[in-house]
Amino acid sequence: MESEFYEKDKLLIFKITDEIDDHTVQMIRRRADYEMERYMPKRVIFDFDSVTFMDSAGIGLLIGRYKFANMIGAKLEITNLTGSVRRIFDMSGILKLIPVC
């Protein structure tokens, strides 16, 4: 995972570059929460452009980060959902909660 923080906009962007499963989410979760706490952003974007595989662990990951972002007063968004990643997000219903930008 790569991340960038834009101080001016208080914007934190996570670009996920790994396959997302129950094994890899543990590392992604730890790093995302650590950086959200460190930068205290107002807006957090998860970019799925480089995600070549995701199973339901990705849904759990996003619900968890949504709650964490709420707790620190940040707004969570996701972007670049394609193929089977998109289908899994559609199926889960969490796009009602987390806006796509």
Binding site: D22, F53, D55, S56, G60
Partner: protein, 159 residues
């Protein structure tokens, strides 16, 4: 009588989450003999990942055990069995319901069975408390008609 298959593979590995990628890639490599589309392959990989993860985190929990995969090809269908000798499921019908999870604190979404059911053509779960769980899934890989016709034309014009 024993059912006849065109091909068969078996895979056994220790219930470590680092084996999830290896497991789904192995089944996908086997499935590619049926010439699936990228989307069909993604469906198979995702369904396998869900079943294998369930065996590891729910079936064996923190204990170590063996996850077994048997996959068979028959015509244009792939059949995949994923089993564990873990703790088993008390009520399979309830477990299959969307959003049902016994581990919400681990950020599980309860979408595993729902994804397996919608990404594959068939899915069946057999489970006995204390003995383990077996998930059997199958998918028909649609023949690529246009390509076949093209090939046929080429063969007939060349001869």
């Amino acid at each position: 009588m024993k059912e006849v298959f065109d091909n068969e593979m078996k895979l056994e590995f220790i219930s470590k989450s680092s084996n999830e990628a290896f497991a789904r890639l192995s089944v996908a490599a086997f499935a590619s003999q049926l010439d699936p589309t990228i989307e069909e392959l993604a469906d198979i990989k995702t369904a396998v990942s869900e079943a294998v993860t369930n065996s590891i985190i729910h079936g064996y929990d923190k204990k170590q055990g063996i996850v077994k995969i048997v996959s068979r090809l028959k015509g244009n269908e792939i059949i995949i069995e994923i089993s564990d000798k873990g703790k088993g499921i008390e009520n399979v019908d309830v477990a299959k319901e969307p959003l049902y999870t016994t581990k919400p604190n681990l950020e599980r979404s309860g979408m595993g069975f729902t994804i397996m059911e919608s990404f594959m053509d068939k899915m069946e779960v057999e489970s006995i408390i204390g003995l383990g769980t077996k998930v059997t899934m199958s998918k028909i890989i649609k023949p690529k008609i246009e390509e076949d016709e093209e090939e046929f034309k080429m063969l007939t014009t060349n001869s």
